[in-house]
């Protein structure tokens, strides 16, 4: 087996009695865009800061190409980092900000000039070289910070929620920039965010953190289509959870009874459950249909609200047992009139697209 580029081994960080990171182990191949996703306080930033060297882990190791980083002070790790807050040096121009890491490395003037020009071209801010940071918008400041972090060709780029201070439109714009820059430079990126859409948009792989542990790691598709736990299913994408009781597994698929007494057959059996055990059936909003197809399960619901979004509809409904459902069925024309009446409707879903988790 070839040696992984960056390897996190049983990393643990405790603050007094509180353990922020529990034995996180992770291998990252060269050139990967890996996102640490998770709610605040889940240990994702702490892990990143341990790699940057701002926090000493309690135990465990971080290896870059087989060599431990932990004994190397931050400023000698040669790692690039973009912070959540604006961290441009306020008294230096944009060009001097980007030049700073090269100047502390005492690179020759010609190389500094060339590299600064390249980097500003990379983030498309060539015309802002002489400005001071205070004269830039938040989005521009983060792009300069990105240029500064890449100026010395670091093997790893760490990004700690770099877009969280920006508004939605700007965020999407810079996400596209980050993707392009990742493609163009091939740098290995570790990216921290609590925004699942951002994670899905940017990453090759996502490590979903919960309470200091990695709950699941995989591609966006893995996490969305094959969540291994209820937490993952609930965190990635919108999800509906229905109270259910596990009955039995027949031919690789499970049968469950919902709270209203109806039986659902053909659910993927991913977890080992005891007969009669309480469970939760998760259905994605887009898995719902307004007209039944072969093998579909049906739910009797009270429709609370409907709205039309062009390619999809939104139907908010409540089951007889009180579970609220947020459904986004496709709005094909045959179904258009079927949601007009507001009460006593049935709504359908493909059980093969549902997930069963122990409650």
């Amino acid at each position: 087996m070839t040696e992984p580029f960056l390897s996190i081994r049983k990393l643990r960080k405790a603050f007094g009695a509180f353990t922020a990171v529990h034995d996180v182990t992770l291998d990252i191949p060269k050139g990967e865009f890996l996102t640490f996703l998770g709610p605040s306080g889940s240990g994702k930033s702490t892990t990143l800061y341990a790699i940057a060297g701002f926090q000493d882990p309690t135990s465990g190791d971080v290896l870059l190409q087989g060599k431990s980083l932990l004994s190397i002070p931050s400023h000698k790790r040669n790692i690039g980092m973009v912070f959540q807050r604006y961290t441009l040096f306020p008294h230096l121009s944009v060009a001097e900000n980007v030049a700073f890491p090269l100047r502390v490395r005492r690179r020759p003037e010609g190389e500094v000039k060339r590299k600064v020009a390249d980097m500003l071209a990379l983030v498309r801010l060539e015309n802002f070289a002489e400005r001071l940071p205070a004269a830039l918008s938040g989005g521009q400041q983060q792009r300069v910070a990105l240029a500064r972090a890449l100026a010395y060709d670091p093997p790893i780029l760490l990004m700690d929620e770099p877009l969280s201070a920006l508004d939605k439109k700007l965020r999407e714009e810079i996400q596209a920039e980050i993707r392009r820059i990742h493609r163009e430079t091939g740098v290995t990126i570790l990216y921290v965010t609590h925004d699942q859409e951002e994670a899905l948009h940017l990453s090759d792989r996502i490590a979903l953190f919960r309470d200091g542990r990695i709950e699941q790691i995989g591609t966006g598709e893995d996490l969305y289509l094959r969540p291994t736990t209820e937490f993952v299913a609930g965190f990635i994408g919108n999800s509906n959870f229905l109270a259910a009781e596990y009955l039995e597994t027949v031919g690789g698929t499970a049968r469950v009874r919902l709270a209203d007494g109806s039986i659902v057959k053909g659910v993927k059996a991913t977890h080992k459950l005891e007969r009669g055990q309480k469970a939760r059936l998760m259905v994605r909003p887009e898995a719902f249909r307004l007209r039944p197809a072969d093998g579909n399960a049906s739910l009797t619901v009270e429709i609370l609200d409907t709205a039309f979004f062009g390619d999809r509809r939104r139907v908010v409904a409540r089951t007889g047992s009180g579970d609220e459902i947020d459904a986004r069925p496709t709005s094909d024309s045959a179904e258009v009139n079927s949601v007009d009446a507001a009460y006593g409707r049935q709504i359908f879903f493909d059980p093969a697209a549902a997930f069963l988790f122990p409650a």
């Binding site: 002070p73 931050s74 400023h75 961290t87 040096f89 306020p90 502390v104």
Partner: protein
């Protein structure tokens, strides 16, 4: 707000009148001193019978006045340098440090501002006499540095509190050692605070008279001590001229500070 200036009505006029009166009461004596320094009366009579520059000529012709002014400037400059250096280190500790007794230390470092100066002066006088520092430039500078320290710490600590530590961290990730990051990034970013600290420490020493009287020797006196001494021996308008210059320099420094602050902040 309850006491919004715009909603005070007729009280506004009263408030304006009262404020003007207080300001006049505080400033008029200085205006008189300046006017008297140009008056031709030997006895500081007001209004002066005529106008003259004679007292300024006398002032600049007397080497003891020049000597006192230079001594003051020298001591104030050294005090400012020392107070800023100590103030800078103390501010990093007070703002960034996480240790027991930090608030007590902060209070302790600021006490010279509220402690009766005369008490401090007597204590320092007795102490320095034993150490052989009485009447020496070093003694002057040390004593004044203690008094100037609060004026150095307050603006530097305030500037440092307003400076995001992440910026320094960013410099470190960029490859600067922690010391380099402070020298090349943090200090330039809080330069307004450092500059204010230098000016205020300079002025704290420049017009200090109580400690200076205790510390002074016949061969080493600052300008305020010389003024004080002359006032007691013979009441000459040269004192008014010296005082006017003292005020003028202080005013000039304050104006420079204000201008630089405005320039650095934009």
């Amino acid at each position: 707000m309850l006491l919004d200036y715009d909603r005070l009505g007729w009280l506004k006029v009263a408030l304006l009148g009262f404020t003007t009166l207080v300001a006049a009461f505080l400033l008029l004596p200085m205006v008189f001193i300046v006017l008297l320094s140009f008056g031709s009366s030997r006895w500081l009579a007001f209004p002066p019978p005529g106008w003259t520059l004679k007292w300024y000529e006398d002032l600049f012709a007397d080497p003891s006045w020049i000597e006192a002014a230079l001594t003051s400037a020298r001591i104030a400059t050294m005090t400012a340098i020392l107070a800023v250096a100590i103030g800078l280190l103390a501010s990093f500790g007070l703002v960034r440090g996480d240790f027991r007794g930090r608030e007590i230390l902060r209070g302790l470092l600021l006490t010279p501002m509220v402690l009766p100066v005369v008490v401090f002066a007597i204590a320092v006088y007795a102490f320095f006499l034993r150490l052989g520092l009485g009447g020496t430039t070093a003694g002057f500078v040390l004593a004044h540095t203690v008094l100037a320290l609060p004026f150095a710490i307050i603006p530097i600590a305030t500037a440092l509190e307003g400076f995001d530590k992440s910026i320094e961290d960013a410099a470190i990730v960029c490859g600067a050692s922690p010391l380099q990051a402070k020298l090349r990034i943090t200090l330039p970013s809080i330069r307004i605070g450092i500059f204010s600290a230098a000016i205020f420490s300079f002025l704290a020493s420049w017009d200090e008279v109580v400690v200076a009287i205790f510390m002074a020797s016949p061969t080493l006196q600052t300008l305020p001590v010389k003024i004080w001494g002359s006032l007691r021996s013979d009441l000459t308008p040269v004192i008014a001229a010296a005082s006017s210059l003292l005020v003028a320099l202080t005013l000039a420094l304050m104006i420079v500070t204000a201008l630089l602050r405005r320039k650095l902040q934009t």
